[in-house]
């Protein structure tokens, strides 16, 4: 089954490289969730995230001949989206970076998997430094290993692990203060 899916993906990629617009549309449809989500969780703005995602796919269309396989395509999309997110933040200077100690504690909640908790978590993640934020997003949204994150962000693996450790520690501290030990 996996082989069939992989073969289909290879065929779609090959057709899009040769100029098949329908094949390229299929690629966009398949990967739009990943690209958009990565941009949205980083920028916290839907319209900005869609605009960035569109730019990424336009860039993909120009560089289709450089894509070697479906796995390479996924890696390429993640890498370009991550770097574009950082560029966008620096360009807009939307949210100033805040020290983790200054982040306000989320409102106390009772139930697990509470939408309010998710919202609070997102708010805390939003105020993390750029690179640390991307590390956390790639780790928990895409379920990537530190080595993969290091390749995407062009970062040493120890730096990735350090970012992850410190960010989780801060998130845990903030949530513990708010929710209590049951949660963490």
């Amino acid at each position: 089954m996996t082989r069939e899916i992989n073969d289909r993906a290879e065929e779609t990629l090959a057709r899009s490289v040769s100029g098949d617009q329908m094949a390229f549309a299929a690629i966009v449809r398949e990967h739009q969730g990943m690209v958009f989500s990565l941009a949205y969780h980083f920028l916290r703005d839907r319209s900005l995230a869609e605009e960035l995602a569109q730019e990424v796919f336009l860039l993909l269309h120009q560089n289709l001949s450089a894509i070697k396989s479906p796995a390479h395509l996924t890696f390429w999309l993640r890498k370009v989206t991550s770097h574009r997110c950082i560029d966008q933040t620096r360009r807009l200077k939307a949210k100033p970076q805040v020290s983790l100690d200054d982040v306000p504690e989320p409102v106390a909640v009772n139930a697990p998997s509470d939408p309010m908790l998710s919202q609070a978590l997102r708010r805390v993640i939003d105020t993390l430094p750029e690179k640390a934020r991307l590390v956390v997003i790639l780790r928990y949204m895409e379920d990537l290993e530190p080595t993969e994150i290091a390749e995407i962000l062009d970062m040493p693996i120890n730096t990735v692990k350090s970012h992850l450790r410190r960010s989780l520690a801060t998130l845990r501290e903030k949530l513990t203060r708010c929710i209590g030990e049951l949660y963490v």
């Binding site: 100029g19 617009q21 390229f24 549309a25 966009v28 449809r29 739009q32 969730g33 990943m34 958009f36 989500s37 949205y40 969780h41 839907r46 995230a49 869609e50 995602a53 569109q54 796919f57 336009l58 269309h61 697990p112 998997s113 908790l117 998710s118 919202q119 978590l121 997102r122 993640i125 956390v136 997003i137 928990y140 949204m141 379920d143 989780l168 998130l171 845990r172 949530l175 949660y183 963490v184």
Partner: protein
Amino acid sequence: MSRLDDELRIALRREEPSPDFVSRVMSALPAPRDEKQPWWQQLVDMLRMPRARFVAAGAAAALVIAIGALQYSRLQAPALEAEAPQQAARTQAPSTDSQAKESAAQDRLAASGAGEKKESPRLDKPSRVSGPRKLRAATPAAELASSREPKAAAPKAPSTKGAAKSAGEIAKDKLMMALRIASETLNETQKLIQGED
């Protein structure tokens, strides 16, 4: 796995963009190039443009003129080569004529000089002396004049006439020969056909 990890996964789950996202991306793509169109079709499309027609006509005219000029120069070259010796002959002939005139003048001078000398020696010396002198004075000029005559005639030798036969005439002869051979072959063929009938 801690609950924080679970909550982070829930908080950071994938979300979909607006429903028309794909169509917006596709509409923003550049128009695809029609690579299937053959090169001659592209040329025809290009020539359909009004300005391109004039450019093409001008280019064609320039090409025709260039080819015509080249052919003209090629045709003129053998004629010029044939004329060159004739021109050389013409340039030499006036010089020989002038040399003949010079020699005649020298003869006259020689004759007049001998005559003058004749007068003085008449007073001082006997006439016998002037005779030989006169003869001696006249002889080199005469020799010069006589020797020059054949030289003057030299440029008019028949070899220039042979060179004047241009390459065009040679080609013409060859063409006539080829036509003759072709007509003979046709006649033979006709006879064979008539014989079979």
